[in-house]
Amino acid sequence: MAEFRMPSLGADMEAGTLVEWLKKPGDRIVRGDIIAVVETQKGAIEIEVFQSGTLETLLATPGQKVAVGFPMAFIRGDGERDVTLPAVPTPPQAWPTPQAAPPSVTPHAAVPPPHLGAIRASPAARKRAAELGVELQNVGGTGAGGAITLADIEKAAAALPSPGEGMRQAIGAAMARSKREIPHYYLAHTADLEPALRWLEAENAKRPPPERVLYGVLLLKAVARALRDYPEFNGFWINGRFQPSASIHLGVAISIGKSGLVAPAIHDADGLALPQLMAALRDLVARARKGGLRSSELTDPTITVTSLGERSVESVFPVIYPPQVAIAGFGMVVERPWVVESAVVPRRVLSCSLAGDHRVSDGHRGARFLAAVARLLQEPQGL
């Protein structure tokens, strides 16, 4: 019997709130299936399982906040016999230490906190608290005998951080950790993007709008292809050592309005043709903004790419998202006087930058990698 636990969907995540189960006990599940939706600081995320078998027991209930690493369900693996579960599957002593989980987190789905019975609240107040995501143990009651009233719940709900604030806090925590732990170095290079843009404009002119490709997709493909020859920029720093990744999963920084950003993965980006990569990007942007990102997309990126796009500025000096070890950045395309075959001509150029982790690589290799990206962009038809 395997425990299905609340996954960590980023360096900054402490807990998630179960929104709904998409499978029920007795359902056959296959590795990669989406079995639950969990609300996090990055929005509502679809959670995948890593094991095939039969969903045996659900421990968490919708609306419940569950700390990272705590069991949410039991899965009976293929070939395992049906066994009777113990009434309390995990003894309280086995839980992580209190500092691992914030006090507002309900530690275990199946076991209510011991003091819950002592809280006095009307059924209406309890119902409203569940609707608003307010946890009763955090609310001071102003009713008779300290009972929690409906008004107390409304007041507590108003004090909760909005989703935007939550995302900002998550970004702040991850970036503070990055700047504290990762010895960054920065490189920048200006690439002539005129050949790539002309080629793409000619290609797009032949296609109806739904089949057009954005130039940002060329940038993603160039980074993914260059990584094949520079594995020290693709992987994770875990437990004091670098673990290179055999697969190239590009995290793509996607702005979510004023709330912040997420950088979910396009899996195996180096093997995707440009139209496939465009389709993957379109799908990812839509889901990042409307909800429906999958857990693997948040945990799998082996490097991140950030592209400022149009109506922006020339250069970016990006910050690595731990536990990754590099991030590639692209500024806005600008037209500049450029020397081509001893003549000054107007060219559209692009600032390409790289932040690397000195624990894994040096500026020399970083420069070679960034130059390889720029070189690949000179021959877009080969991407």
């Binding site: 109806p208 709008p209 739904p210 057009r212 954005l214 309005g257 990007l281 379109r282 942007v285 109506r311």
Partner: protein, 86 residues
């Protein structure tokens, strides 16, 4: 198709990529890209929505013409008349 109908189609296409769109405060004669923070993916999706709604294929070289509501209505009106004649 009247200009009023085209305006409705343009606003509907734009609302698809900018749900927070408020017709009362949007300046129809200025670029909506800055007003609504429309990135290149949003803009392409807006062009695709116009393509689906009106059957007009807007080439990339004409994107600047459809970046404001008034500009888009004038451009599409001309294109629709040309299509009707041919």
């Amino acid at each position: 198709m009247t200009d009023q109908e085209i305006t409705k189609a343009v606003l509907s296409a734009l609302a698809g990529v900018a749900p927070e769109l408020d017709e009362a405060t949007l300046e129809f004669d200025n670029s909506f890209r800055d007003q609504l923070d429309i990135d290149s993916m949003d803009f392409l999706n807006y062009v695709i929505a116009l393509h689906e709604a009106l059957g007009i294929d807007i080439p990339e070289s004409d994107y600047a013409s459809v970046g404001s509501i008034d500009g888009a209505v004038a451009y599409l009106s001309t294109k629709l008349k040309a299509t009707a004649k041919s």
